[in-house]
Symmetry: D2
Subunit: 430 residues, 4 copies
């Protein structure tokens, strides 16, 4: 049951100007501790170390995703499209608002190290003993399960899934605009109003009126630019590497029985792989940073050094590699040992390929991991995948010039440069 | 000695687009741990609980102040104004960059509770055993002392002080634009380019060409609007109250010998009033939030409740008062006791008057606490204080419609509403 | 009868992003020749000679006024305010769209010279034999008369008049934003969304929720700044003077029987004071400029000189006067004659006071010429005129520092400077 | 000889905020009648009939091109690049300012009809008996010839030509940003600051630092989007067709000895192909519109109808064609004759291919008509054409999905629809 607020609530938002909350359920969800916790988790992880404006939280992004979804549905309602199931409005809004509620601190980096799946945590928060669950159950006893099934892309009414999660969903539209706004670049700007105007509900899918093709091209070009210039920025990769190394080192130490001078229970559970919902909800970036501050004084030199680097932004230097170049990397490892460095920490090769971002893939993978493609609806009510009609999208869809980079602590290598091979000196430009 | 970087460094900034670093000293200062620490301190304290975009740090603000100062000096140099002492450029840039480096977490709130003076900490960081001091000393052994004397507004060359700290200084220009950008309001926008163009160095002061009067009016109107709509927003005041109450309660407990389950040394030193430079530099908002997270499970019910409120944004409700109304407040205290609340924590009266912000005061106070006024330079080289010529500034300068508000935990009062006097119910609209 | 378009039409607009047309009547009105003619009339008259971006037309402004009105009504409808008469929607939209349709070329200047009243022409276009009238009559035979009575502020339902014409009407909101956008200044920007959100229909008036007071202050401050920096810019006044002098000279010549080598019938009717609707609708700025181009080769030296000045932007120089200073002006006239200039053309004294713009007047004049004031609606449903509650508006409302300027052709005076009195040389700074 | 102004002049500009004039020569050029005439010629021809904001003039664009050139040179000077010839600054600025001074009214359309070459007129204005020539000669007797040779791309110092005219020149950068601003779309926005920062003078060319490749990609994507969404908008093509038909009809009538009731000498010279410099400089869009206003009452029905359509924006309807489809077009011509229409005026097939715009061509044509390509300069000082390194540019460079459209007067065809073949009805969707 949808209950309207007596007076709509308005959040001031830099990206959408205003965010309108009209449902009591949405208002209550925003005020749960689990949702408020998103204020303490940055949207862009360590990117603030590259772009100092990128200090915005998942809280603001989640509100933005909700607002875009609200606008899309409002357009569908205004135009009274028969293919839009009006009774799914509240479900769609709640799923949009909550889609990221399971994210932990520095999410993408930690997920790799600890094999965390934020989507699964999102569902646990929705279904478990939480404030979010209590609010959802006020609608209906089944409502939490419905929301979770939308998150898992298994809800019976596929159009709701298509609205909340696709190649052109509210999530991506918000983060491109928001990340562009807060980093201060203008690559991520596209004409949101126009895109919202050309979306149509059509036979269980959200599709795009063909006349809106150029607007979608512009959106995908924004994505392409943001991808290379923000999300894969090599300095951000460098800080991600430090972050992952910290947790890798801490795990090693923990497993070897090392006694940490400072250890909060949620971090300990994380290291031991036994973390449950209650402790997971305690994790935030404040706790991680505070822990790093304490660990920067641990006797373990590697851990202390890495934590200091992260807090004081003394990142690893990087140099581009032509290829993975395993032969030379083997040489470097030897050389590192000779000059007293730890190859397993003091060098790392990275390629943006293993990334949560992609520009556009025309086909969804059968395992459901890939989001469904963008379909154009022409005047004859035919649907065509967009890259068939747009040369420019076809050309982006195939692109993946992933560069390899080697990362290393420059100030510890330089004093020993004369001991390195000429190949190494040349490749690192030292 | 000023050393130029081989190639200028550029920071992407949402407010100024680009921030240009041309001096090696400036670049090194930015990379000190003390300056990097400003990334973990928000520019607007608890305002992010009212305006979710306001998550920007003092790091970005400090860079912005530096950049505006650089632009002003660059304009002076381009026009070769005789009254500008070129040899003071590097000093001015360093003082601008560092003017806020002594700020602690939730600065304005904690300063009140613990009688901290961030300006004094700024000078300690500049003069003490820090990375900042080491970089400054590379310029000259006297250089740290010079920078500190600019911060203290006592430097021998008054135009440098006037540039770094006045009613129209780079600090205020940056924070108005930046706070407007990140909150998403457009009250704080004024024509920075135009103002920069009409500033002139003149006989030891930075003054404004008379033709720029309207641009300055616009800037002061922005300040007036930001003052009332952002900085004094009653919801932000409510979160400030919670914050101060937490530290008040912790101090009380500490003094009474209470044994905290969780206590990091810098926080302990803060409570005991014995904090020194090394521990002060460990303080940041991550540590405060983590501490609150742990304290929300302390056995002391008041402390635990306040910490939970802060983290989960369950703030006190507020109601406007006509006046300070001491008689009625006395009644309320009695009533609070009757319904089982603690008057010293569960109600607080607040007026924005005791605030670090002001719109504009035409005259500087003799104690140097007030910043010097804005002077117009006319074609006859006469100086006139701006409110003499501008009716609109005259009218703002006198304004101070401070409202009183009473704050209280609504959800703990409502169940006992029938026990309250009708006056109380009416004044609190319950 | 209101007929919806099958699909809404969208105009791309730089100020409002999109302008939505949902009614067939509105769409047809836009496509009448009388409305299309507004494309050939600039919104800001001669201001483009001061601010080169100000080349926007009354066509775009009229669409903008319509769009703001549409948004206001849409807000009223969404909130189902009882005091808003829903049946007046189409009337309000049409009156908003057409309120400026009677403007002629360089409207404010020509109105002074030829005693034209654009409001009266607007009503003639609405009621006369025009495309506009035919479209309006399709709604209802009485509909044109209703629209005209709204324009004349005499419509029986006062809330419609209040919506279309007040101190806070869609007309002013659009022109401030639009003129700021096209000139490129940022004085005129205020938070339109916020103002639209706090407007309320209330007992036959459009009023403002008291919580919106600061947003209205901001709007009035924008008006104040635009007033002084754009609308009263002395260079624009100079081009207005040339324009009026051209028509004054042409009228003199016409009355004296001078035979013009080039004269189009609508211009002739204008000079003879006999212009009727058909010829009035032929007048546009293209015709005026073309006429000036031809007249710049007329044998009458004064007329030719003025027309050349206007087209080639060789405007009169100006100098500020302390007061009207009639004694000295008398001297100047004598001196002008001595050096072979025509005092009635080669000098002119101007003060912005006789201007179509005002910042804000708290009280409407009984003759209906003044627009009604802005009223705040508080929680007790009391109405208060805004300057009673806002010190800042009170201070603007009384302001009128009109400056006097003398304008003259500098290049014709300079060669004879030695013949002028020292007082004249000093006052003109030559 | 370059003479600095005592005080720099500043134009307020919506796109670049401020335009700075520091040279007396530039200031005087702006104030010539030939340059002021550009105020009466729109930058985007008839596009204002599609995008009502697009009323900006070539005057504002020319200032913008000058300003971007000034910024590029200023960057070169600040960095003291050896490959930049400092003595060419004034020449570059003047050529940039004047590059469009030869444009006539509705330039691209009229050039097709009357075989006008605006570049040649630009040179005539620079070299002929004009105010522009007199100002340029003040610099040096040879200076006008130098400026003209830059315009003709034949100047001895190729870097000046490369600066003023290339695939990444100030002209294109300004018009993309300006046209986007005034139409209100956001396709044309790219990061101008960043591009200016990565330009380098290098061996007689202006090239791009390789690290700026993504910024150039963004610029070319903007161009691609503006190309399809603004410059080739089918409604604009429709108004261009009407415009060309008017002049085609007028030429036919003129050649056949028709006696026009209204004819100004410059228009007559245009029709007779005998126009000289003096009359060319009288031509502007005001004169064209005024002429159309008068011609809309000519007895020749075709001419009168076309002129009325243009002024009142009653444009031809359009339908897309799969191919040029000559067979069917032949049929339509027959059908048009049967229903009393003139096939040579009442239908026209258009493809954007014959357009002054292109997205990007990697190779310059040997005849010098094509602008030189964009070269990347890598760290090894190697130059590479950008599409070799950028997949996305490679994919755009080859794109030309020109659509064919048929245009016709719908309201004159519809009444006879039953007489048309089913193929025609289907293709025109009637």
């Amino acid at each position: 049951m949808r209950m309207e607020l007596q007076e709509e609530k308005v959040f001031k938002d830099p990206v959408h100007h205003s965010i309108y909350v009209q449902d009591a359920v949405v208002w209550k969800l925003i005020n749960t501790p689990e949702f408020q916790r998103l204020r303490r988790i940055r949207q862009l992880g360590t990117s603030y170390l590259t772009f100092h404006g990128a200090e915005h939280s998942r809280f603001s992004h989640s509100l933005g995703v909700y607002e875009i979804t609200r606008k899309i549905i409002s357009q569908f309602e205004r135009n009274r499209y028969a293919d839009w199931p009006q009774e799914e409005k509240l479900l769609s809004l709640c799923a949009s608002l909550l889609h990221d509620v399971g994210h932990g601190p520095f999410s993408h980096s930690l997920e790799q190290i600890f094999h965390i799946d934020h989507e699964q945590w999102t569902c646990e928060i929705i279904l478990g003993d939480t404030g979010v669950n209590r609010v959802l159950r006020e609608v209906d006893a089944d409502f939490p399960a419905k929301v979770a099934s939308v998150i898992r892309k298994k809800y019976v009414n596929p159009i709701v899934v298509s609205l909340v999660s696709s190649q052109l969903d509210a999530d991506r539209m918000d983060y491109l605009l928001r990340d562009a706004y807060f980093t201060g670049v203008n690559y991520g700007t596209f004409d949101l109003d126009r895109i919202l105007r050309v979306l149509r509900p059509y036979r269980g899918k959200i599709v795009v009126k063909e006349s809106g093709m150029h607007a979608v091209e512009d959106y995908l070009m924004s994505r392409y630019q943001m991808y290379w210039q923000i999300y894969f920025h090599p300095v951000t990769r460098s800080s991600d590497i430090i972050l992952r190394q910290i947790f890798r080192r801490a795990s090693e130490l923990f497993e070897s029985g090392y006694s940490f001078a400072f250890m909060l229970p949620p971090i300990q559970d994380l290291l031991s792989g036994t973390i449950g919902l209650a402790h997971y909800l305690k994790l935030d970036e404040a706790m991680v940073q505070t822990t790093f501050g304490q660990w920067s004084e641990e006797p373990d030199e590697i851990l202390a050094d890495l934590c200091g680097r992260f807090l004081n932004r003394q990142l690893y230097k990087y140099a581009p590699l032509e290829s993975e170049d395993n032969g030379w990397l083997q040489t470097v490892r030897q050389e590192w040992l000779q000059i007293g460095l730890h190859p397993e920490y003091h060098m790392e090769v990275d390629t943006p390929m293993d990334s949560p971002y992609d520009v556009y893939k025309p086909g969804a993978l059968p395992d459901g991991k890939e989001k469904p493609p963008i379909l154009l609806l022409d005047e004859q009510e035919q649907l065509t995948e967009i890259s068939v009609k747009s040369d420019i999208i076809q050309s982006i869809a195939g692109l993946h010039r992933g560069k390899y980079y080697i990362y290393y602590p420059e100030e510890r290598v330089l004093p020993h440069a004369h001991l390195l091979s000429s190949e190494t000196r040349k490749k690192l430009s030292i």
